[in-house]
């Protein structure tokens, strides 16, 4: 409670982040180390994620492609915006 909003525009809580990344290309890393790259269709506060045009990378190598994929939030280590979006977002 104490912090959110104090620093104005520089503060971005996890809830703000989740709101801002829908529809954007993302990298989702699971605890297992597997990466999923694709377009983020929707997500919730549990970090459950629905992705489109998903590519599965194991040890940096493309292993699989899925048109649509659901990832259960408990497996998610992090959600990252792709480098491509660097110019658009902030």
């Amino acid at each position: 409670m104490s912090g959110a909003g104090e620093k104005g525009s520089t503060t971005k809580t996890p809830a703000d982040f989740l709101k801002s990344i829908r529809g954007r290309p993302v990298v989702v890393k699971l605890n297992s180390g597997v990466d999923y790259r694709g377009i983020l269709a929707c997500l919730d506060g549990y970090m459950n994620i629905a992705m489109e045009q998903t590519e599965e990378y194991v040890n940096g190598q493309l292993k699989n492609k899925y048109g649509d994929a659901f990832i259960r939030g408990n497996n998610v280590l992090y959600i990252s915006t792709s480098k491509k979006t660097l110019g658009e977002g902030a």
């Binding site: 503060t11 996890p14 982040f17 989740l18 280590l77 990252s80 979006t85």
Partner: protein, 88 residues
């Protein structure tokens, strides 16, 4: 409690003071991240910017650069304000 006594600092208040500055996150397992802290919530899920991820594997250290991430708080072990990069 803590607001009555300025010498008392809640852990979350300490993290709050790190917002906007570099922080070093040590995860459970052989993973560490360094980045600028943008925000966090009650689970200590964190939004980090300009992140460097260090994975210690059998072949050595794998480094990944990331723009902006939401890090799940579930596997966070230690937070070090200031963000000294891990050098081993």
């Amino acid at each position: 409690m803590s607001s009555n006594n300025p010498s008392q600092l809640l852990p979350s208040e300490l993290i709050d003071r790190c917002i906007g500055s570099k922080i070093w996150v040590i995860m459970k397992g052989d993973k560490e991240l360094v980045g600028t802290l943008r925000g966090f919530d009650v689970y200590v899920n964190m939004v980090l910017e300009d992140v460097t991820e260090y994975e210690i594997t059998s072949e050595g250290r794998r480094i990944t650069k990331l723009d902006q991430i939401l890090l799940n708080g579930n596997n966070i072990a230690i937070l070090v304000p200031g963000g000294s990069p891990p050098d081993e």
